[in-house]
């Protein structure tokens, strides 16, 4: 079974809660889908079996010697990535989407497409099972495509090693890497917090997941920071028929566990927090 943990808003405790879940399942398949800010490896220190190159895309490059300055590429580029400067096409690498249209239409073949290949994907094992994660090189794009690839890898490993449960720690937001994280999973868990921003982002996340008709569960983290908003979130979830599987108090122990390099379940195995998380996970699983 594949379970994706997402949040809309960042910093609600997605990774800490995913990590706790991962340490509750034996022979788990753990996947860190937050590829431009992956963190779980800091807690789990996986032993790397394999490192794979990820080609995130291509960028156009102009040969100034060949460019005749006709401006056809500038005219057709939908990403405003080409500007004619002193009679030559100049590519703005940040805006270039790698669509290769300029390369195809250049009448003098002055443009080549250079692959961007600095990002890596890692496959390994850790104390609770197997782990796959990606690290997008700083500034590189196409995180959705990378999530698709690491999920493909994780599916094969889960099949091969008979992992009963796959837990995917998703990125914040509701854009392409999130869509890639939830596409085809069995269940989605949304972690929120009782702040107006957390609430508003939860609504957008639920709206998104609804488009995919996936079974959805909500965890309200850091409830004690604002009980009133926490209750509003609970009421809203009841109205929308989204089960709230845990109301977790704010606890500095969550951060202390992190600093110790442990999940809360490992750091305080007998605590209320651990029990609440165990109960939540069994509700989600069964």
């Amino acid at each position: 079974m594949e379970i994706a943990v997402i949040s809309g808003k960042g910093g609600t405790g997605k990774s800490s809660i995913s990590a706790a879940f991962m340490s509750l399942v034996s022979n788990v398949m753990a996947v860190d889908c937050d590829v431009d800010a992956s963190n779980l490896y800091l807690l789990f220190h996986p032993f790397h079996d394999k490192e794979l190159v990820f080609v995130s895309g291509k960028h156009a490059k102009v040969d100034n010697e060949v460019c005749i300055g006709c401006g056809r590429c500038e005219e057709l580029c939908r990403f405003d990535a080409i500007e004619m400067t002193q009679g030559k096409a100049v590519i703005d690498e940040i805006s270039c989407d790698g669509c290769a249209l300029c390369y195809r239409i250049c009448p003098v073949d002055a443009i080549t497409m250079i692959p961007v290949d600095k990002s890596r994907m890692y496959i390994g094992t850790f104390r609770h099972g197997n782990m796959v994660y990606g690290r997008l090189a700083p500034g590189e794009e196409n995180s959705g495509k990378m999530v698709n690839q690491i999920r493909e890898i994780s599916k094969n490993i889960a099949k091969e090693k008979l992992c009963p449960v796959t837990i995917l720690d998703g990125p914040p937001g509701i854009g392409c890497p999130v869509l890639s994280t939830i596409t085809g999973v069995d269940k989605v868990v949304i972690v929120t917090e009782p702040t107006l921003s957390g609430f508003s982002d939860l609504k957008r996340a639920v709206e998104l997941v609804r488009q995919y008709s996936l079974p959805t569960y909500v965890i309200i983290n850091k409830c004690t920071l604002n009980q009133t908003v926490a209750r509003q979130v609970e009421d809203w979830c009841a109205e929308k028929n989204v089960p709230v599987v845990a109301l977790l108090p704010f606890s500095p122990e969550m951060v202390e566990a992190l600093v110790e390099g442990k999940t809360i379940v490992e750091y305080r195995p007998q605590s209320d927090m651990t029990n609440l998380l165990k109960k939540a996970l069994s509700e989600i699983l069964f």
């Binding site: 808003k9 939908r78 249209l101 500034g139 959705g144 914040p172 937001g173 854009g175 488009q211 604002n226």
Partner: protein
Amino acid sequence: MKIAVASGKGGTGKTFVAVNLFHSLKNKGKCVALADCDVEVPNALAFFEADLCNEIEVTEFRPIIHNDQCVFCGKCVEYCEYHAIFYMPSSRYIRLLNDLCHGCAACSVACESGAIENSSTVVGTVSSYKYQNSVCLAEGRMTTGHPSPVPLIKATMKNAFQDQSEYELYDSPPGTSCPFIQTVAKSDFVILVTEPTPFGLSDLKQAIDTLLTMGKAFGVVINRAGLGDREVYDYLERNGYTLLAEIPFEEEIARLYSEGKVVSEHHEGANRVFHSLADKLIAYGNSSN
């Protein structure tokens, strides 16, 4: 001066810093504007009572492929770098896979039989708001289900404000990939907000690496100081990076923020921190001019 408020890790307090810094600069009589570029989940405007005065729809190219006019030459499929055209010439079937389309229009350039009609799809809206007698607040809001925020971030930064302000603040999306790059690329200075935890530090390092390759000036704000450990401080000191401000972790601050309040209006300690941060940015602006 254009200032992006960003972070590698989500939820470190970007919006909190952007909103309060806006408030402090305004209190100092500066002409300041704030645009929310976290278009996937925009929140900054919820902290102000402002009046909507302009809203534009942002669109992106989408082809409409007419099956009946298609000659099944396959040129559009060859041109599409995103594999967004599903094509079965044996059954004379062709269709656009909307989710994969980036709107580059290469297919339209490729098609010689007139089977591709140029159309568009709405990626979101850019709204500008009037607050305290000037149009100084704006947000981009992406249509739910649309995959890429980048075109909308670009449009937000371009269209949010007609008049130039002395200080333009951009609340950036989290991460260090394309949405982050797009926001910081057009900024003169970047404020990176982090928290003193192992996750915060790891993502801060990645954000700083990115800014260094881009040659951007930046400074760091540590939020929730007191939680976690000292590693972030050691890292900043070792590398000689500027620590602009520290905001202590206090349940009172968290509570005020959760209620949608501009914290520095209600909390003396936070007010002092943001005033001093505003002064540092004013000094930086003056020295770089």
